[in-house]
Symmetry: C2
Amino acid sequence: MLNSQPPMALDGVRDQIKSIPLDNIAALAKSAFNNKDIIPLWFGEGDVTTPEFIGKAIYEALCAGNSFYSHQNGIPEFRQTMATYLTGLNVKPVEMERITITSGGMPAIMLAVQMVVNQGDNIVIIDPVWPNITGIVKMCGGHTRSVRMDLGDDGWILDVEKVAAACNDRTKAIFFASPGNPTGAVLPVEVQKQLLELGRKTGIWIISDEVYCRMSFDQKVVPSFLDISEPEDRVLIVNSFSKSWSMTGSRLGWVVHPPSLEATMAMMVQYTSSGTTTYLQHGGIAAIRNGEEFVKFMTDYSRKGMEIVCDALDEIPRVILRKRPTAAMYAFFEIDGMKDSKKACLDILASSKVGLAPGFFFGKGSEKFLRLCFCRSPDQLHIAMERLKAALK
Amino acid sequence: MLNSQPPMALDGVRDQIKSIPLDNIAALAKSAFNNKDIIPLWFGEGDVTTPEFIGKAIYEALCAGNSFYSHQNGIPEFRQTMATYLTGLNVKPVEMERITITSGGMPAIMLAVQMVVNQGDNIVIIDPVWPNITGIVKMCGGHTRSVRMDLGDDGWILDVEKVAAACNDRTKAIFFASPGNPTGAVLPVEVQKQLLELGRKTGIWIISDEVYCRMSFDQKVVPSFLDISEPEDRVLIVNSFSKSWSMTGSRLGWVVHPPSLEATMAMMVQYTSSGTTTYLQHGGIAAIRNGEEFVKFMTDYSRKGMEIVCDALDEIPRVILRKRPTAAMYAFFEIDGMKDSKKACLDILASSKVGLAPGFFFGKGSEKFLRLCFCRSPDQLHIAMERLKAALK
């Protein structure tokens, strides 16, 4: 027996998975992981390590024996802490039944998409957009329909009529991030209300990615979809500790969902992750309770980075940046005369040792753009911008 | 505006998700979480906390600044450590290109299923089986076809001809665990070879859950599918640190896959989790390098628990246990005259404060069975068994 030849493994992967490009920021950056000569501005990640008080809380919880399976929705103390935090931060109260803790923002979005997308369904995404949402939807057997924001002197503006026109009877959700990645654009309350109204009329879900909500350079928190929606609206808010608490490597996030979905979310968490790392959730409690100072520090750090980067970009004639971002951690700028954003990134990487993300990852129409993460030390950003000035002459 | 009524949120969840029962062990146990009066033998979890040396390695890595995004396949040092470990443990060498680190065994299985199952496809599962696989397949739009092992005086035996007969042209994978949960049954090498041959002939994937491979009471490691398969066979091995290293609350696992799937796995990890908690992976390295003594301790601990529990079960006339388990952490026994395993569990919980898992969760034909996790302290098991003796009179 065992004389037969094995069939090729890769051929056995389902077509939808094979159709997802392997080409993404992580793949681009892989060759340069741990190469200290390169200034890595390609990821959505600052250079500040996770604060010590959070690390201590994680370790203390582990030492205290919190090393067993968690509740699927998250440990009750954490859910209550989060509900209290959100109630204080936003306009309307949030009950703990609406909170489910996840192993990061990405699993939060995956859960949201898994919950609503059948094979052949679609999700309307607001573009330019973080490319991962497209990969997630494809993994779930769906596809994305893109609505591009309009870029004017006031920055990126969303026309909700275009969103409505993009929806069809297979549209199960509208996804957007505010503040946006890569644009930093903040959706005004009036636009959010139009989106909510569209969702209510059609039954289409709203998936609101609010990961950068605390990283605003001109307000304490940007308007949340929580401010305008009712608990039982078809609205899923996804968020994460990655950015404002510098916890990218930890994998900790949350979803705010209708209270009627509490048991459904628990079941889905059970079958995707079994629940979030238990002692890490104690770190999350500490982050919420004692992290306000750090959140302000991170926002200020990012704002300073934005100023250094935008000042330098202003001095490069080929760079077109209509309006400075007022939130998040990215400059998303056009290069006059650039045809191929990926080739440009590879050239800049080779010649200048600066890692940037090519615009084409962020949707059609962004081929002439580059994304730069400015949430890094001023010293490093000054060096990076000097190098870029030389490279983009 | 905003006068319209929101449609019911729960109605907007896709049918396949709504079809997954919310009734599972976690839901059953939820009411008793943190109730110290109850002896919880319902979970697949021991009562030993994560060993100190692993916790220290996690914390030291975090303090050393390993708090940023990880490689999608896992940090190279960990993948190499795992490859070396598996090469030493099993018959054939394993290259690091075949290792992808995951946030636990559950995400490992979810990745495997997402990779091969389209809507309407099926996976053949070997029953009695851990219920989560069914939930995972349903979430991915597929369904399961069940092949029940035969229970005789030698324990649970798999007839591969029944497996072949259960496969049809929409079968994308065969899933089994060896040692099994809840049975503890170990698939002999000859049976594994028949399954491999079936997979090669049909192109159907083999998903081999080897989470309990080190928890054998009569050998160092049970036969792995790695021993008989070639790297490019359509075989996915899923494993986890949860059981043998007492890390259920940590969420750390791995997949061994064909080398040609390395980039595909990286892409899928990117879109489901962004990668596994970075500093936790350093804990995994420590667990592999310095954990052999602990692994032996856990196996011995579970074996002692098995003896206490089986000795006591022998004294209960209504209990039918054909053969003592030789691996894992469960007694899976029949109760003569019991009609409804869930009602029995609730009755035992109410009268005796012992938490057991009802057989019906583990597949059709197991309605008269109960599952008991014996990987707990002898003192607690003695008390639990005295209570059970009274309850099952």
